[in-house]
């Protein structure tokens, strides 16, 4: 049985994993880069090992350093979290070689699902619907045109090794095929060192719906229902909910069966997520599999009533799943809001800085997973996700009204963040109606950027408070400080003003 876990990650997910380990009586080992010496996961873990400089490539992506920390600490298992090395088959393999349990799937499963053409072929063989398109890679314009004749326009040309929107070209017109093909292949070659591309039907106004699955080492695979993840900005999810407002019971069961089939096709073990793209008529197609825990896993935990990290550890311990598919049920409705240190008014640009003040929401139905504290500097090197708000309600209506309440209570000062933006999403008509696709943010930009109105009384109160605080500070300031003040402000009147964007 696993006694000591090294968490090869940082931020909220590292803290979240440590919490479940603590509950199980498992000792935890944090690893940290230079920038993360004071990160919450380091403070919260039982042990902590330095693994390198701030850039991820030198620390959280440095397999040798992490394995060394695992060996030095005597950890018998490594939890990779999400991102970083979590979907790196070499890391899974290396753990195995060094006799450390990797809390996740085999290198093989990761590799199969990591290559889009291989994954596509495997899914087709397993009878899981994929987006209409080529079976393998294509090389010539003629092949491309033949495919387009079958599936119709528009289509997307995609790199097999792709990700992050690179090596992708949307084609609306047969005349664009040749140049798009050339561009995609060249971009793929540059970005991934592999110019294999394939063609898929382009789904307009799609929904992004994913299935959580769990698979043990005895071949038992279950799904824990869907998560609706269509609210995105910059191709990154910001709000997820479960159940999906567009789902029907029949479709839910059918997609669940296909999710299980997908996992079985790669002899999957552990927690994973099958992502589907769904069109307006509820036709669904396999998009990809995330062979790890997802950021949005807590909404499934809340509605199904499981601790997914504990399940991962049980599976890694070689225990059979205790959960049974036919006994699982979705209870109520859960919504997750991702709180980012970013500036919604400036195209969601990451906005690192020092957290000077936090108010966290509490009470019925509210869970907060985070990794910041007052005085903490949010590092510039990593993902700007600083907290997640997970809210439960007995139905979607209650989940929405509770999320609004919690977002109003939630304040983070010192770093720009998207809390107000999230609140606007939750109260927007399209979201309330459950009527949204991946284009939601673009289509609702005007509403989402507006501020909640405040009458003059309310503004005057704010003005008076600042005024009174200032008066008090002036009264309290010693003559010495006042002088310093006087000297300081002249420095500001430089000719050059540095623009901070």
């Amino acid at each position: 049985m696993i006694k000591k876990v090294l968490v090869a990650n940082r931020g909220e997910i590292a803290v979240r994993i440590i919490r479940s380990c603590r509950e199980m009586g498992i000792t935890t080992v944090a690893v940290y880069s230079d920038a993360d010496r004071k990160s919450m996961h380091v403070l919260y873990a039982d042990e902590a090992y330095h693994i390198g400089p701030s850039p991820s490539i030198d620390s959280y992506l440095n397999i040798d350093n992490i394995i060394r920390a695992a060996i030095m600490s005597g950890a018998d298992a490594i939890h990779p979290g999400y991102g970083f090395l979590s979907e790196n088959p070499a890391f899974s393999e290396r753990c195995k070689k060094d006799g450390i349990i990797f809390i996740g799937p085999s290198a093989d499963a990761i590799a199969t699902m990591g290559d889009k053409i291989t994954a596509r072929k495997t899914m087709m063989a397993a009878g899981v619907p994929v987006v209409p398109g080529t079976e393998g890679k294509i090389d010539t314009e003629a092949e491309a045109l033949r495919t387009i004749e079958t599936i119709g326009l528009p289509v997307m040309i995609k790199a097999s090794a792709g990700g992050g929107g690179k090596g992708m070209r949307l084609v609306h017109n047969p005349k664009e095929v040749k140049s798009a093909l050339r561009a995609a292949r060249s971009e793929a070659k540059t970005a991934f060192g592999d110019d294999s591309v394939f063609i898929e039907k382009y789904i307009e106004s799609p929904h992004h719906i994913e299935y959580q699955i769990l698979a043990d080492s005895f071949g038992n695979v279950i799904h824990l229902f869907e998560r609706e993840c269509s609210v995105q900005r910059r191709h990154q999810k910001i709000i997820e909910e479960t159940p999906s407002p567009i789902m029907t019971p029949e479709k839910r069961q059918k997609m669940g069966e296909d999710a299980i089939a997908a996992a079985k096709a790669v002899n999957y073990q552990g927690a994973g997520t099958i992502e589907f793209i769904v069109d307006k008529d509820l036709n669904y197609y396999f998009l990809e599999m995330n062979t790890r825990l997802q950021v949005e896993h807590p909404i499934t935990e809340r509605v199904v009533g499981v601790d997914l990290v504990k399940e991962q550890i049980h599976i890694a311990n070689g225990l059979p799943l205790k959960l049974q598919q036919e006994k699982l049920k979705q209870n109520g409705h859960a919504i997750e809001c991702r709180v980012y240190a970013e500036d919604p008014e400036n195209n969601f640009m990451p906005a690192p800085g020092k957290v000077t003040h936090i108010d966290i929401p509490y009470g019925v139905g509210v869970r907060v997973d985070g990794s910041i504290y007052e005085g903490r500097e949010v590092p510039i090197y990593y993902d700007p996700l600083i907290a997640k708000l997970i809210v439960w309600g007995k139905d979607r209506h209650e989940a929405l009204e509770r999320t609004t309440r919690a977002l109003k209570e939630f304040k983070i000062t010192g770093v720009k963040n998207n809390l107000k933006f999230l609140e606007r999403i939750i109260i927007s008509k399209d979201f309330v109606d459950g009527n949204y696709t991946t284009h939601f943010v673009d289509e609702n930009k005007d509403f989402l950027m507006k501020e909640e109105p405040c009458d003059q009384n309310c503004e005057d109160i704010v003005i008076i408070t600042a005024f009174m605080e200032y008066l008090q500070k002036i009264e309290k300031a010693s003559p010495k400080e006042m002088t310093a003040l006087k000297n300081n402000w002249k420095d500001y009147s430089r000719v050059r003003s540095v623009l901070k964007l």
């Binding site: 992050g164 910059r234 400036n346 195209n347 969601f348 640009m349 990451p350 906005a351 690192p352 000077t356 003040h357 108010d359 510039i380 090197y381 990593y382 993902d383 700007p384 109003k408 209570e409 304040k411 000062t413 010192g414 107000k420 501020e451 909640e452 405040c454 009384n457 309310c458 503004e459 005057d460 109160i461 704010v462 003005i463 008076i464 408070t465 600042a466 005024f467 009174m468 605080e469 200032y470 008066l471 500070k473 002036i474 300031a477 003040l485 006087k486 300081n488 402000w489 500001y492 009147s493 000719v495 050059r496 003003s497 540095v498 623009l499 901070k500 964007l501």
Partner: protein
């Protein structure tokens, strides 16, 4: 005591008319407010006005004159404009039109594109440089119209936080 206080585009004149413990009488642009004004901890206040309850938090930004202010509904930036600040604003105002502006990288990243050349005229809002950082591309725009006087980075180059990238001289019109 009377000061000007800036909230968004509004500059309000605030005057403390009387104070009895936590009971204040304050005028904002001539409108009088009788308040029960109770300090909580470090910059937090509970204010009751006509039986409406306001919970206000002030977090100082760079010194004593600028605050981030949280109420239950909204978040504001508020600035106290005292004599010094006014003097400063006037001096700056006079100078900045003939000054220059440097576009710096707020986060470490890689220069994807430089869209201007030295000597080129740019307009306010025009994209000057594109940076990729944390897997995202961000556009950096000119704050006002002017002329590019110096380009300090190249495409493909890595930049550190606060590294200077492009210098723009303001137009004097």
């Amino acid at each position: 005591m009377s000061y000007e206080v800036k909230l968004k585009d509004r500059i309000a004149r605030v005057e403390l008319l009387s104070r009895q413990g936590d009971q204040l009488l304050v005028a904002v642009d001539g409108k009088e407010y009788a308040l029960d004004f109770a300090p909580l901890n470090k910059g937090s206040y509970s204010i009751i006005h006509n039986n409406k309850s306001y919970n206000v938090e002030l977090i100082p930004v760079n010194g004593v004159k600028k605050y981030n202010v949280n109420t239950f509904k909204n978040t504001y930036e508020v600035e106290i404009i005292d004599a010094e600040a006014k003097y400063l604003a006037n001096r700056l105002k006079g100078q900045e039109d003939e000054g220059e502006s440097i576009i710096t990288a707020p986060i470490p990243g890689k220069v994807v594109k430089v869209l201007v050349e030295q000597g080129e005229e740019v307009e306010a809002g025009q994209t000057v440089v594109i940076i990729a950082a944390m897997k995202m591309e961000s556009e950096f725009k000119a704050a006002r119209s002017g002329v590019v006087s110096e380009i300090k980075v190249k495409e493909g180059q890595s930049v550190e936080a606060r590294q200077e990238m492009v210098v723009i001289e303001y137009s004097t019109d």
